[in-house]
């Protein structure tokens, strides 16, 4: 379980998170929607401690993310994250991108790491590309590599930070399909997304961010079909779902 309690965060004068409370249960798929700059990506990166917070608490499976004695490197093994910018390591083959953390963080023997990597690459449809460098992959393939790389660590949670925003429209589908597969396998997922159709279909719960607060949340039907707040109504009027 991920529990977020009264989280505040500022970048200088600008307060981007103004008291966020959110609990995500194991097995749940939560999608976060909202205008750009509303704080959703920032919150996602706070969950695995890549961003710090000014006040409040975040717990992952009972471990406080920002407690001084928390081993973040260990905690991050539970939290896979995929970014908007693909962040493949360009100097390593696709397979080595996946085995790096298995070898160096989990200290697995090479053969075992290779086997896990190949299984995960197969899962996202990239096994044929195992020995090429990321520069030879399309954006969609690089994003699926990012997913395989995160999955290889056997995380309890997968965080997706606008993973389709930088993709050409024709490549969005393949990445969303991979994410759908994951959710149907029961993976706990938190996805920040601008793909409203996806957000509605895949989610158990949709959270609408606006100006640093959670303005509305609920099951997809409630949020998309009977929005209560004027801001959500207005936001949805610009989207197709």
């Amino acid at each position: 379980m991920i529990s977020i309690q009264n989280v505040h965060k500022s970048f200088g004068q600008l307060e981007v998170l103004k008291g966020i409370d959110l609990t995500i249960e194991r097995g749940e798929v939560v999608t976060m929607i909202g205008p750009s700059g509303s704080g959703k990506s920032t919150l996602l990166q706070c969950i695995n401690g890549l961003e710090t917070i000014n006040s409040g608490e975040i717990h992952v499976d009972g471990t406080s993310v920002f407690a001084p004695d928390t081993d973040l490197n260990k905690l991050r093994q539970k939290l896979g994250i995929v970014f908007q910018s693909y962040n493949a390591f360009p100097h390593m083959t696709v397979q080595r991108n996946v085995t790096l953390a298995l070898r160096k963080v989990l200290r697995l023997p090479r053969a075992e790491a290779d086997e896990i990597a190949r299984r995960q690459l197969d899962r996202v449809g990239l096994l044929a590309k195992a020995d090429v460098y990321p520069g030879a992959l399309s954006g969609g393939q690089q994003q699926r590599l990012g997913i395989a790389r995160a999955l290889a660590m056997s995380p309890n949670y997968m965080l997706f930070d606008e993973v389709t925003s930088a993709l050409d429209p024709q490549l969005v589908g393949e990445v969303l399909a991979t994410m759908r597969d994951l959710s149907s396998e029961g993976m706990t997922m938190i996805a920040v997304t601008h793909e409203m159709k996806f957000a509605r279909e895949v989610a158990d719960r949709v959270v609408f961010f606006d100006k640093g607060v959670i303005a509305e949340s609920g099951n997809p039907e409630e949020v998309f079909l009977s929005p209560k707040s004027p801001r959500l109504k207005e936001f949805l009027s610009h989207s197709q779902f």
Binding site: N48, L50, N73, K74, R76, Q77, L79, G80, I81, F83, S85, N87, F89, P90, H91, L100, A101, K104, V105, G146, R149, A150, M153
Partner: protein, 219 residues
């Protein structure tokens, strides 16, 4: 009038010249390896915001790059000698050139670090890698790839700088040549010979560097 070149004496000195070349090359390689190992953390410290790390790193880089290499060698040999720390000439040259290399390479690496997207570091950390692992396996291999040509130049430049060791009695290529020309008065012959030898050493270094080039010798 006229000067008759007589290379016979150079041939006689060949065994000493060869061992001098070995001294030059091994000092160059050793001080390059140490220089690079020191330059990586120096570059990170100099590019960072932690003043306790940044200030000494900047001081090192400025001192190494803005004082003559000869002065740095003298500082090790005579300067430390004056406070009771004595060392052989090769050790003084090794320490001085390593210090010099670290400063220049740190500045090269710092430029290379600026060219790496910060998200590469973030993505590494998100997989559970420590900062040291992220630099070691993800960031610096890319920095090295992007700065390969400048690093190769620095390698050759520092190899040539080892010749300054002759001034404190190092028996490297230059030291051997100086010794023999004083005894035989065949100045041009010996310095021509070692000029060729330095070119060969430089080419040898470039050849060796090709195997360290990311992507292999044929990339």
């Amino acid at each position: 009038m006229g000067y008759t070149f007589q290379f016979g004496v150079v041939l006689d000195a060949l065994p000493d010249l060869l061992s001098g070349a070995a001294v030059s090359l091994s000092l160059a390689v050793a001080s390059m390896v140490v220089g690079m190992l020191l330059a990586a953390p120096l570059a990170v410290a100099a590019a960072g915001r932690n003043l306790a790390a940044k200030t000494p790193a900047r001081a090192w880089i400025e001192l190494a790059r803005n004082t003559p290499c000869l002065a740095q060698i003298y500082a090790m040999y005579y300067g430390l000698g004056a406070v009771g720390i004595f060392m052989p000439a090769w050790a003084a040259v090794f320490l001085a050139i390593s210090f010099n290399n670290a400063g220049y390479l740190a500045e090269i690496f710092r430029g290379g670090l600026n060219g790496i997207n910060a998200n590469q570091f973030k993505a590494s950390r998100s997989l559970g890698l420590t900062p040291a692992m992220a630099y070691r396996y993800v960031v610096f291999p890319q920095v090295f790839r992007n700065t390969y040509n400048s690093v190769s130049n620095q390698f050759i430049w520092s190899m040539l700088n080892t010749s300054l060791g002759a001034l404190i009695g190092l028996y490297d290529l230059s030291g051997v040549a100086m010794d023999y020309q004083m005894r035989t008065f065949k100045t041009f012959e010996f310095f021509l010979a070692i000029a060729v030898a330095y070119i060969v050493l430089a080419k040898l270094i470039m050849f060796g560097m090709r195997f360290l080039k990311p992507g292999g010798a044929n990339a």
